[in-house]
């Protein structure tokens, strides 16, 4: 704060005391403004990021004072001996593939519908976005109740319409549990693509669409040849965010199935947690985190580059 007086004089561009002086002052002031953010950011995100990678080269239980350097052994163990790792990897891949297509398409469809102007548009927008403001863990709890084998809405509804044959224990049958969780996650994950596409649609000039309409283009042709190409940037952002979020998914699986039955719904995010915090296998846990991060980079690199360039 004591700097305040001194800066005022020096920072005045007209002061012209050699020209380098104000720049140096700006540098110092900039450092002051940036210091809190930079300090927190490096301590909370960057340093752990590097330290985790380093820890993945050790065998350690997280408690004992010594840890044994094992090189890439943890990765080899995951690769060849950890059966659940492969289940988690497969599930994460499946999860990501579904997430890239289903909630995003519904989000786009809703955005197209809700971009038209009609009475009550704001109400419908608010309603469809609503699940996105709930936490994923809460969405998981709400859907767990819907899936309840006897008291849950889903089975009762099936019984009511005479489809008792479709009754399932939705969250405890290995073949369907993961999909049941995906539905809950998709309910939450549709809002953001919808919002991003609504924002993207607002950047398309009305005249272009009207011109196409006058030229006799059908609604589908207008979408195919005008709207969709002009949403390219938005689509990229939607896919990048979806991809990154899908790989690290944790809470909704943890809440709904706890990775079960028999580890059949483990994903990379949950298996990393269980290995680290339940089995004290720090090396294996951090190795999974590194694999997860490596996969994230497929989209993360072009995404950060784009964000950096846009500025």
């Amino acid at each position: 704060m004591s700097l305040g007086g001194a800066d005022t004089a020096a920072a005045t561009p007209a002061a012209g005391r050699g020209g380098s002086n104000p720049l140096r002052t700006e540098w110092r002031i900039g450092a002051l403004f940036l210091a809190p953010a930079l300090l927190l950011y490096v301590t909370i995100i960057i340093y752990p990021l590097i330290y985790s990678s380093w820890l993945s080269l050790f065998e350690w239980d997280g408690i004992s004072p010594t840890r044994r350097f094992v090189g890439l052994d943890n990765y080899a163990t995951l690769w060849s001996q950890n059966r659940v790792f492969w289940i988690a990897l497969k599930n994460s891949a499946l999860w990501t593939a579904v997430a890239l297509v289903v909630p995003t398409s519904i989000g786009l469809g809703l955005a197209l519908l809700l971009n038209r102007s009609f009475a009550g548009r704001g109400f419908y927008r608010g309603l469809f976005y609503f699940p996105a403001i709930l936490s994923l863990s809460l969405c998981g709890l709400i859907w767990t109740w819907i899936y309840h084998p006897t008291l849950g809405f889903l089975n009762q509804f099936l019984g009511w319409v005479g489809l008792e044959s479709l009754h399932r224990a939705w969250l405890s049958e290995p073949s369907i549990a993961l999909f049941a969780v995906m539905v809950a996650a998709g309910w939450h994950n549709t809002g953001l693509p919808m919002l991003l596409y609504l924002a993207g649609l607002q950047t398309i000039p009305r005249e272009v669409l009207e011109a196409a309409e006058v030229d006799g283009a059908t609604a589908f042709q207008r979408f195919r040849h005008v709207t969709w190409p002009m949403l390219k940037d938005t689509t990229f952002v939607v896919l990048a965010i979806t991809f990154i979020n899908s790989l690290k998914v944790y809470d909704v699986v943890y809440v709904m199935t706890f990775g079960g039955p028999a580890n059949q719904t483990q994903v990379l995010g949950t298996w990393m947690y269980f290995l680290t915090y339940n089995f004290n296998r720090i090396g294996l846990g951090t190795a999974i985190a590194v694999v997860l991060f490596g996969l994230t980079l497929i989209f993360a690199i072009p995404y950060t580059r784009k964000l950096g360039q846009e500025s």
Partner: protein, 291 residues
């Protein structure tokens, strides 16, 4: 009637169709409303469950109307634990969110208006935080908090929340500040205003829309945060709402009406914020992706 509505909504030159638009219009509303009903059904089911008495569950299924509305479920859920979780979440959100936005605004200000070497690279460096999976940070953060004796402490968690909120907040703030004319800043400097004064009296007030958007987004994110709370909070008295709800689920696993009531209580502040600030959602986000 239909002419007026159709005319207003198509807003284009294709009025010849307007007379026939009534039927598609109705079909549109019916289709959309049906889908909306399905979409929001889980929330209805939740509220419905929260209003039933325990004995209602014994007879009568999900579809049966509650015999009488059981408001006492909310009071009971509140008393057996939600009050503590709610207070913790509220305290965390009210302290963390403004602090985080201020720190991010300061950083964004420096990155936008001060002539610093490498400020572009520094911005990209901050953006990297958006793509780092949280799993990559958990173990080192556990060790860090353990060394500082801050495990199982809301104060310790506060710092983590602060750090994780920064990348997005800096991106949004910087995106917005770039729309503020430089000349305003330079004029103020010539008039003898200090850089701190420029930040506090000119740039921050002009950034109000971005600040409000961020307060809402970050507020919701903080209110909802689960994984860090789950790893770093242990005692019941320290738990935040998302964590407390999961705990509730195991503790009262068959008291469905209590669980539902607790979940409803969690949602109420979100609904209030959402109803009041809905328009900031689209505006705030479009500011962050389109520069």
């Amino acid at each position: 009637m239909s002419l007026v509505v159709a005319g207003r909504d198509s807003g284009s030159a294709v009025l010849p169709h307007a007379g026939r638009a009534a039927i598609p219009r109705i079909a549109f509303y019916v289709g959309l409303s049906l889908f909306a009903l399905v979409w929001i059904a889980p929330v209805f089911i939740l509220v419905f469950t929260a209003l039933k008495s325990a004995s209602d569950f014994a007879h009568g299924g999900t579809f049966a109307l509650p015999e009488r509305i059981e408001w006492a479920n909310f009071a009971k859920a509140w008393d057996v634990g939600i009050r503590t979780y709610f207070a913790n979440s509220a305290l965390m959100t009210l302290v963390k969110v403004p602090a985080g936005v201020l720190i991010a605004a300061m950083a964004a200000f420096a990155l936008t208006f001060l002539r610093l070497p490498g400020s572009r690279a520094l911005f990209t460096f901050f953006i990297v935080g958006l793509v780092v999976p949280i799993q990559m940070t958990l173990v080192p953060l556990t060790l860090l908090l353990r060394n500082l004796d801050l495990i199982d402490s809301l104060f310790g968690l506060f710092w983590l929340y602060l750090g994780f909120g920064l990348p997005f907040a800096i991106m949004v703030m910087r995106g917005y500040m770039r729309s503020i004319p430089r000349e305003l800043v330079e004029a103020a400097l010539i008039d003898g205003c200090s850089w701190f004064g420029v930040f506090r009296r000119i740039v921050l007030p002009l950034s109000t829309p971005a600040v409000v958007s961020l307060l809402i987004f970050d507020g919701i994110a903080t209110w909802n945060e689960f994984i860090l709370a789950q790893i770093f909070l242990r005692q019941n008295s320290n738990r935040t709402l998302p964590l407390g709800l999961v705990n509730f689920q195991t503790e009262f696993s068959t008291a469905y009406e209590l669980l539902a009531a607790a979940q409803c209580i969690t949602i109420v502040p979100l609904v209030v914020v959402y109803l009041f600030f809905q328009r900031y959602f689209v505006d705030g986000l479009s500011g962050s992706i389109k520069s």
